[in-house]
Symmetry: C2
Subunit: 199 residues, 2 copies
DNA sequence: AATAGTACGGAACGTCGCTCCGTAATTCAC
DNA sequence: GTGAATTACGGAGCGACGTTCCGTACTATT
């Protein structure tokens, strides 16, 4: 292996000289663009190439892959979270609000290839993506759920975390399978969640 | 790269000499054992080590990873498929039969770590695991569904493929997340599927 | 005994997420 | 202005993955 290891400046190659790369925004834009074309699972190297930086730079700003994903989608998740209370105020009924919000969420997940799949934190609480989604959206989903349920709903009812995660799971592989209709299944799940115990 | 490539018999090392390794059964047993301890996503090398063979041997018998998984679980999938008609005959109502069968299926998926996750065929029809599950179980699920639905169910009703895939997706990450209750969500989904359009 | 056929192990390959480190750009002290 | 300290950078390298490939060693056939 008598090779050339550690030699990246054989030629003083200009690099992106001078420009201090004002922070992460350029990175986020590049990542967002790559996610659109290649899905959320796109290799980090591809994002780095698109942004014209090395992978090291990406990992300096976003220590793990999920954190980059969170950063890219933070605005949209935030918008989705904020839509919850608004829908509750504007809709004809709490159930309509819940269904509209859920449709919003599903549409968000389905249009971002691979996002739903990346959502389940594989182990422990160490997955920033899962943690962020759950932390931000469970409370929203919870209030909508509470409002839409019968007043004296039993304590045995399934909780918002389960509903949210169930929705997320149902959205997996929604893109890439034309005959799979995640939105319809999710609405059916909501029907089940809202149904009284008599069914 | 002037290295030692292609030299695996420096020493005539005894190998598993003589024994022609009567077919795949030993492989399947080893794989099943590893799947239990390390999940369905266990590295092929680990299975090979457990079986005392090289990875090449595994790939000779099962050209792709999904095919090995299919082979390991074929019996149980078969049993699940056969349980469908039996439950329909034995149960008090078609709905009870459907719910019992679904519970059976969920239990199967949930107890095999990672199986549900491995179930979505990533692309095209090339995933043997997805293809096998769908091909074997969709008809079964379809008859149960048909029996359990109102007689004149609209053509707009969701089909068995969607229901089955939805169940599979809901079971993802059921192990490894103590507060996630896949079985409950699946039953709620079934409630939604069975509910009349008036909800 | 010589040959053909086949099953075998595991090195090698390409790709992944992520780490590491030599170097370049910038800032600061004087 | 000059030199040292600090910071940001690119991309080679690492370990692990699924999968391929091929020299070898068994087994059958003649």
């Amino acid at each position: 292996m008598a090779d050339t290891h550690r030699e990246q400046s054989r030629v003083p190659r200009s690099r992106n000289v001078g420009r201090p790369r004002q922070s992460e925004q350029a990175l986020l834009d590049a990542a967002a663009a790559v996610f659109v074309t290649s899905g959320v699972d796109a290799p980090v190297r591809e994002i780095a190439a698109k942004a014209g930086v090395g992978v090291g730079t990406i990992y300096r700003h976003f220590p793990t892959r999920p954190e980059l994903v969170v950063a890219v989608y933070r605005h949209q998740v935030e918008a989705c979270a904020e839509a919850g209370p608004r829908l509750l105020a504007e809709s004809a009924s709490p159930e309509a609000a819940l269904r509209a919000w859920v449709a919003l969420f599903v549409d968000f997940l389905v249009t971002k290839h691979g996002l739903a799949g990346a959502l389940q934190g594989d182990n422990a609480g160490s997955d920033a993506l899962h943690t962020y989604f759950v932390g931000r959206l469970v409370p929203v989903c919870g209030s909508l759920l509470e409002a839409a349920r019968e007043p004296g709903a039993a304590a045995t009812e399934i909780d918002a975390y389960n509903v949210l995660k169930g929705i997320g799971n149902l959205c997996i592989s929604a893109s890439s399978d034309a005959q799979y209709d995640a939105a319809a299944l999710v609405q059916l799940l909501i029907s089940g969640v809202l149904a009284r115990g008599d069914r």
